[in-house]
């Protein structure tokens, strides 16, 4: 979104521009200034910057989001086992504390950068940008950004990713999209994880989960997967390979040169 050319004026906010002069003087002599600016403009700018880094190196960036414990890291381990021979994978992982998840990923011989967010409940574009400097993007095909386990906050921050993959594990219940519309509206793919538990639980209905996603006007596909027994893994890795091909086809144009806010070099 851009704040200089007016392209952020939508059907939804155009009336704001028409209501009175941009600068009005109030009766008590104070100054009233109409700003009309997106509050996350600085994050969105940095996200675009990250996107340019990915385009430059023909890297597909996937933002993985879910509740804590839905199986993001286990999914990544299974994905690395299935695709690691054909594609060069790297992982950026965010947690409030510990290096545990990055260590799990590194055991598979894949570079992993842990971002310890401390008190922050989400990753933002600046954190991801710093992490990118620890990776040699020239040597990577797919970078997974494993977001902080949280169905609320990560949905509001663009990281520069090409697609959002949201996990919904069967023990969580099929009505999660109804409860967390912002997260599931943003999903390009929904993975119904821990599908090996679905028959045991008995009350998780994948069709009901799909209906709730459609109710958010989201046509994203849903795939049932189990990192444990491999169910659905080929559908998931097939989706990933198509996303990578699409990204390479779309990103074939020369990326625009960009200027860094703070001087730094890239490997």
């Amino acid at each position: 979104m851009c704040d200089t050319c007016g392209c952020n004026v939508t059907h939804g906010n155009e009336h704001l521009l028409k209501s009175g002069a941009p600068l009005a003087q109030t009766s008590n002599g104070s100054e009233s200034i109409e700003v009309l600016k997106g509050l996350l403009a600085a994050n969105d700018h940095e996200a675009q910057h990250n996107r340019e880094h990915f385009a430059e190196h023909r890297v597909l960036a996937v933002n993985l989001m879910s509740s804590p414990g839905a199986g993001k890291t286990a999914l990544l381990e299974a994905t690395i086992r299935d695709l690691g021979d054909r594609y060069r994978i790297a992982v950026i992982v965010g947690d409030l504390e510990t290096e545990n998840d990055a260590e799990r990923i590194r055991r598979h011989g894949v570079p992993a950068i842990q971002i310890s967010t401390g008190s922050a409940c989400h990753l933002d574009a600046h954190m991801v940008h710093s992490a990118l400097h620890g990776l040699d993007l020239q040597e990577i095909d797919i970078v997974f950004i494993e977001n902080v386990g949280n169905l609320v906050c990560p949905a509001s921050f663009d990281l520069g990713q090409h697609c959002n993959v949201t996990l919904l594990s069967s023990p969580e219940g099929d009505d999660k999209p109804q409860k967390y519309p912002v997260m599931f509206r943003a999903a390009d793919l929904v993975l119904l994880s821990k599908s090996d538990l679905t028959p045991i639980l008995g009350d998780f209905d994948p069709r009901r989960a799909e209906r709730h996603v459609r109710e958010l006007a989201n046509g994203a596909p849903l795939i049932e997967v189990s990192s444990r027994n491999g169910h659905g893994m080929s559908a998931w890795t097939g989706w990933l390979e198509r996303a990578l091909q699409l990204q390479r086809a779309n990103g074939a144009v020369e990326p625009q040169r960009h200027v860094h806010a703070a001087a730094h070099t890239h490997d």
Binding site: T10, H11, G12, N13, L16, P22, L23, T26, G29, S30, E31, S32, I33, E34, V35, L36, K37, G38, L39, L40, A41, A42, N43, L96, G118, S119, A120, C121, H122, D124, V152, C153, A155, S156, F157, P177, Q178, K179, P181, V182, M183, R185, R214, E215, L216, A217, G219
Partner: protein, 138 residues
């Protein structure tokens, strides 16, 4: 997270992205205030849609922490909610719907486009300036 004003042990602030949003508000307002030599900011007006993922009560709680020690401290935060409005690509109707049910209000089709409801906008600010002559126009 910036240090909490006052006694931090009694004013615990849980992790939430609303704090990041408040820090963005404060940064933006400080820039505008500095450009106009403002001595204080009395009012900040926001527009927040339910699909922005930002909760207004949490935003209000986080704001004093982000504003502490700046000219923005003490400003009143006004948050105007925006309705979730969608356009139906099947029947062309525009309807207002709940945030977790973006089906056309007329024909119930799910192929709809969001017109409003995901805004996270700094709408307007009111500030007091030390010297009227220094007033600049946007």
């Amino acid at each position: 997270m910036p240090p909490a004003p006052g006694n931090s042990s009694t004013r615990y602030l849980p992790p939430m992205h609303e704090l990041s949003v408040c820090q963005a508000i404060v940064r933006e307002v400080l820039e505008l205030a500095a450009a106009r030599c403002a001595t204080s900011i009395s009012d900040i007006y926001l527009r927040v849609g339910p699909l922005s993922g930002v909760e207004t009560p949490l935003l209000r709680n986080a704001f004093p922490f982000a504003a502490a020690g700046t000219v923005v401290s003490g400003a009143a935060l006004h948050v105007a909610p925006t309705p979730v409005r969608i356009h139906c690509s099947r029947c062309d109707a525009d309807t207002v719907v709940p945030p977790n049910r973006l089906l056309c209000g007329q024909c119930s089709d799910w192929r709809t486009e969001l017109l409003s409801g995901d805004e996270l906008l700094l709408d307007r600010i009111e500030m007091q300036c030390s010297d009227e002559k220094d007033h600049a126009h946007v």
